[in-house]
């Protein structure tokens, strides 16, 4: 469709909005209420333009032409139009530059500022505020409003994490629409009306996992991240665009640091992955980085004590001990280590003739045969989820909800993501029927599903077998499973999503893949951590696995792992010839180590990770002061120097050179949306007998329990680690809501607070796992907490 914006002629797809035509032409109009990925509603009236179009003569079906020039005559709308809610028409003419338009825009600006407090000097948004910028660009500079402004609450805590300044709000409705349209948790709304309207909630503490995004999209300083309030001005922050290493989605984030400290994390855009959205744990879960007990220098054991040392001293110490230690060496990194760190770990293990491994690593491969991308999920017409995506990979939760709206992700225009996607509407009907969610307990996502299947934990193989064969399985009726199978077979783009409980069993994964093949579905596997995919693809794996490494080594080099959380394993580690632990904080395992090396966190590393789609994404370091902390590359570099060898992976560059050989991609400076290059699927894994009995299910958790103690704000908002218990069980076992207990699982003692809820099925308690605990069924013993005052 041909349109003309001022003097620029364009050819755009029908259905494009006039505001996007203006931006595509390289012009600008001010706007406040429209927001990428959300419905345009025409609320702020800032995006005014003079819009006209030619008309056809009904009789001749030809354009009505100007008598003099013979050109089609342009009929202008009688009023200026909000370009965000106007769709383009063939031959449309849009004027954004005339005096009339400019005057209207500056008039609207004046109107928006009538009750605005103009307290930019003390506002966190100052310097990065849409209202401020637009007032500067399009405002008149003066106001004729001579009366008292409306006064309202200026520090209203919507939750522990979000503060609302009601005076600054311009009622664009972005935040309200966001909650309804994106996570589907309508916990914020306009209260009252007319001049009295304010943003408010009666759902205390904003019960949603995705609340922080409203602070990114609020065009003014009304909604603010309470954790970073008054910490710095926008221009003082160092902005680092990187990738979150909190889960396997590879969501883009912006890390804002100032004087060596992370002050806040914001969502960044990856049009293929998280769009603009991140979950609250990713946003607010960075405080631990700056915890006072962060390890900042290497420590060497001198008798019972660990004493500070330099990296060179530590490396020399290790080299001399390696010379006399036993020969069986194990190197293990946590699964959020970068590919480059993986190369380093492999090179070190190889040099020492040992084995390299990563943990957590599920029994089954996390690389799928016929892999689905996030876009596949968002455009699917039948989704079968087995697991709990909200907790495992929160980004996926939102992308599944995209699919329920039935609107495919927008095509990019010359200026990027459309500002006003006219296909999106407020309160769109959701096609819940396309979503089936199965899990051993009631999950968050089930509220949005057409069909929920709760099956006994550990029976994933039966579940897939049942769906495949159409017979009853996993205590579910044949009819239900049959229905699901035909929904999947009849769909054009079916997707099956396999969560941690499936991947924990090779047999179940095999059954799932068989089902996927028979119905022609793509598969998405939710690996446990940010680079589970990459490390498996790189084969940082050993035959016996992590468990064997722990029991059958003389020398262990562990990065960010804490196996001694389990006292039984700790006893064994005590007898090692040499235990080197690379970590950011003291743990049970550093307590046993001969050498402790300070580790960089995920915000400080440079490298590459591969998300669950097989998308290679670059990770960039934010300027954080972490003493002499190093990533595993640094460990291998200094050790190599002490051992007199130049190992692959002694620097990011050398690791990438070695990766380029095996992967055929140059990993330096990948595009922002990453490089989608899934590797070939691997053998699924050995079938070992699955655990089928137990009273406790260790689950994934969006809130990282290992870090919760050092993330006080997140903890204040979401509470302590909860042990979820069914009401009947609680009564039978005499457990009281809110009571602090110790949960003994093998050699691991975990403290938790009892939460009584119907979400937990009878006979099964739910506890979020730590990084070092394998997910799935297990047996536990609950005892009252020894000291009620938790540390």
């Amino acid at each position: 469709m041909k349109v003309k914006v001022n003097d620029v002629e364009l050819d755009l797809e029908p259905g494009t909005s006039a505001i996007d035509a203006v931006f595509a032409a390289g012009y600008d109009v001010p706007y406040f209420c429209s927001q990428e990925y959300m419905s345009p509603i025409g609320a702020c009236r800032m995006c005014l333009g003079k819009v006209g179009a030619p008309r056809k003569d009904r009789e001749t079906n030809d354009w009505i032409r100007d008598a003099e020039t013979g050109e089609p005559q342009i009929f202008y709308f009688p009023n200026l139009m909000a370009t965000c809610t106007t769709a383009i028409m063939d031959g449309m003419v849009i004027d954004t530059l005339s005096k009339e338009v400019r005057q209207a825009q500056s008039g609207m600006m004046e109107f928006h500022l009538i009750n605005h407090p103009l307290d930019c000097p003390v506002c966190d948004k100052g310097g990065a505020c849409e209202l401020q910028d637009r007032a500067y660009e399009y405002g008149a500079g003066t106001s004729r409003f001579e009366f008292d402004k409306r006064h309202q609450e200026k520090h209203h805590a919507l939750s522990e994490l979000i503060t609302l300044d009601r005076e600054r709000c311009i009622h664009c409705k972005r935040c309200v629409r966001y909650f309804e349209e994106v996570p589907g948790d309508e916990v914020l709304d306009f209260i009252e009306r007319g001049g009295h309207t304010y943003i408010g909630t009666v759902d205390e503490g904003l019960p949603s996992y995705f609340t922080g995004n409203i602070t990114d999209i609020c065009p003014v300083g009304a909604l603010l991240d309470a954790t970073s309030r008054f910490r710095g001005r926008n221009w003082e922050y160092d902005h680092t665009r990187t990738v979150s290493l909190d889960d396997a989605s590879g969501a883009a984030i912006m890390v804002d640091a100032r004087t060596g400290r992370i002050e806040r994390v914001k969502g960044a855009r990856n049009t293929q992955v998280n769009l603009d959205w991140i979950d609250d744990s990713t946003r607010f879960g960075h405080e631990y980085v700056d915890a006072p007990d962060r390890l900042k220098t290497p420590l060497i054991r001198k008798g019972a004590l660990l004493e500070p040392a330099s990296w060179e001293e530590a490396a020399q110490f290790i080299a001399s001990r390696l010379a006399v230690a036993g020969k069986r060496v194990g190197v293990a990194v946590r699964s959020d280590a970068t590919l480059e760190e993986g190369v380093a770990a492999k090179a070190l293990a190889e040099h020492l003739r040992g084995h390299a491994e990563h943990f957590p690593r599920p029994a089954a491969s996390v690389i799928a045969e016929n892999p689905a991308t996030f876009t596949d999920v968002a455009t699917s017409d039948a989704i079968f989820v087995v697991g709990d995506p909200t907790e495992e990979v929160p980004t996926l939760d939102l992308r599944i909800k995209d699919a329920l709206r039935g609107v495919a992700p927008p095509e990019l225009l010359a200026h990027g993501v459309p500002i006003a996607d006219l296909r999106l509407k407020e309160r769109m009907p959701r096609k819940r029927s396309i979503l089936t969610v199965a899990a051993p307990y009631r999950t968050n996502l089930m509220r949005h599903a057409g069909q929920e299947l709760i099956y006994p934990a550990g029976q994933e193989e039966d579940l897939f077998g049942g769906v495949g064969s159409g017979k009853a399985g996993a205590s579910l009726a044949a009819e239900q499973l049959n229905q699901l199978k035909s929904a999947l077979s009849d769909a054009k783009k079916p997707v099956i999503i396999l969560g941690a409980f499936v991947l924990a069993s090779a047999a179940a994964t095999r059954a799932a893949e068989a089902l996927a093949e028979s119905v022609g579905a793509k598969v998405m596997k939710l690996g446990p951590m940010a680079n589970s995919y990459g490390l498996e693809a790189l084969e940082v794996t050993s035959d016996g696995g992590y468990a064997d490494l722990l029991t059958q080594s003389d020398v262990l080099i562990l990065s960010n792992l804490n196996p001694a959380q389990d006292v039984q394993i700790g006893e064994r580690l005590r007898n090692l010839d040499l235990l080197i632990v690379h970590d950011s904080f003291e743990t049970e395992t550093t307590g046993l180590a001969h050498v402790v090396l300070p580790a960089k966190t995920g915000y400080e590393k440079e490298g590459t990770v591969v998300n669950l789609e097989g998308r290679f994404l670059n990770v960039y370091p934010a300027p954080v002061d972490s003493g002499t902390s190093e990533d595993f590359i640094g460990v291998v570099r200094t050790l190599g120097e002490a051992l007199g060898v130049r190992l692959d992976g002694r620097s990011v560059r050398s690791a990438r050179r070695s990766l380029a050989k095996t992967l055929n991609h140059d990993l330096a400076a990948l595009p922002e949306e990453g490089l989608l290059a899934p590797v070939d699927a691997k053998e699924i894994g050995e079938t070992v007998a699955d655990t089928v009995a137990g009273n406790l299910l260790l689950t994934s958790s969006l809130l990282k329990v290992d870090r919760l103690r050092r993330n006080p704000k997140l903890r204040a908002a979401h509470g302590d680690v909860a042990l979820r218990v069914n009401p009947a069980d609680a009564e039978a076992q005499n457990l009281e809501a809110g009571a602090n207990v110790t949960v003994n699982i093998g050699g691991v003692a975990r403290s938790a607070t009892i939460k009584i809820t119907e979400d937990a099925p009878e006979g099964l308690m739910l506890l979020p796992a730590t990084f070092d605990q394998a997910l799935g069924l297990t047996s536990a013993e609950i005892v009252p907490a020894a000291d009620l005052v938790s540390a």
Partner: protein, 197 residues
């Protein structure tokens, strides 16, 4: 809500009422029932408490915030019980020009109430509201569900006195339609509230 545990849900045992209201809308439009449900509660209890709000949210399957958003949009719904006579003074443009501010001050002085208050004996509640849709007969005062149009200082005084003694005056009517046959007041025979001063 703590209240919910201790008081009986409004719609408990009223399945027929509930079924009738919900039955008016298709399943995907269930949230449309918010308005009639609020009204049902409000009519019976003269206000909608937070517990009732939660109950309605639960019935319709939405968050309580959404019900609150709808409820607060309309001045017809109340969070607190209102007095026997709910005096609602239109304060939108037409009525404002015709003197509703002065009418408000007058009533406020007469009753000793400020906006949003109810008196101790529960007779009067005073509230400024937005356009009552009767702009042609401004200024408008709505008492419970009855409109009093083109209110003057003396007709207002007369009305308040009558209400104090428990009597609702028949509102004078001037137009056709519903009020066919009603006696027409002599327009202009009396000064409007706003024009005195």
């Amino acid at each position: 809500m703590i209240e919910l545990d201790t008081i009986k849900p409004y719609f408990e045992g009223k399945e027929d009422v509930l079924g009738e209201i919900l039955g008016r809308y298709p399943d995907y439009g269930r949230r449309s029932a918010i308005m009639p449900l609020l009204w049902e509660v409000q009519r019976a209890e003269r206000h909608v408490s937070e517990a009732r709000l939660e109950e309605i949210a639960h019935i319709v399957g939405v968050h309580a915030t959404e019900v609150k958003g709808v409820m607060s949009f309309y001045s017809t719904y109340h969070e607190q019980p209102v007095g026997k006579y709910h005096l609602q003074i239109c304060s939108t443009l037409s009525c404002s020009l015709a003197g509703s501010d002065e009418m408000f001050d007058f009533i406020s002085e007469e009753t000793g109430l400020v906006n949003g208050e109810t008196d101790g004996s529960g007779i009067f509640s005073l509230q400024k509201v937005e356009c009552l849709g009767s702009c042609g007969t401004a200024p408008v005062l709505q008492v419970n569900d009855t409109y009093y149009e083109r209110v003057t200082r003396s007709s207002c005084k007369e009305l308040l006195d009558a209400l104090r003694s428990g009597e609702m005056l028949e509102p004078p009517r001037e137009r056709g339609g519903d009020n066919e046959g009603a006696e027409k007041p002599k327009i202009g025979s009396e000064q409007r509230v706003g024009r005195e001063a």
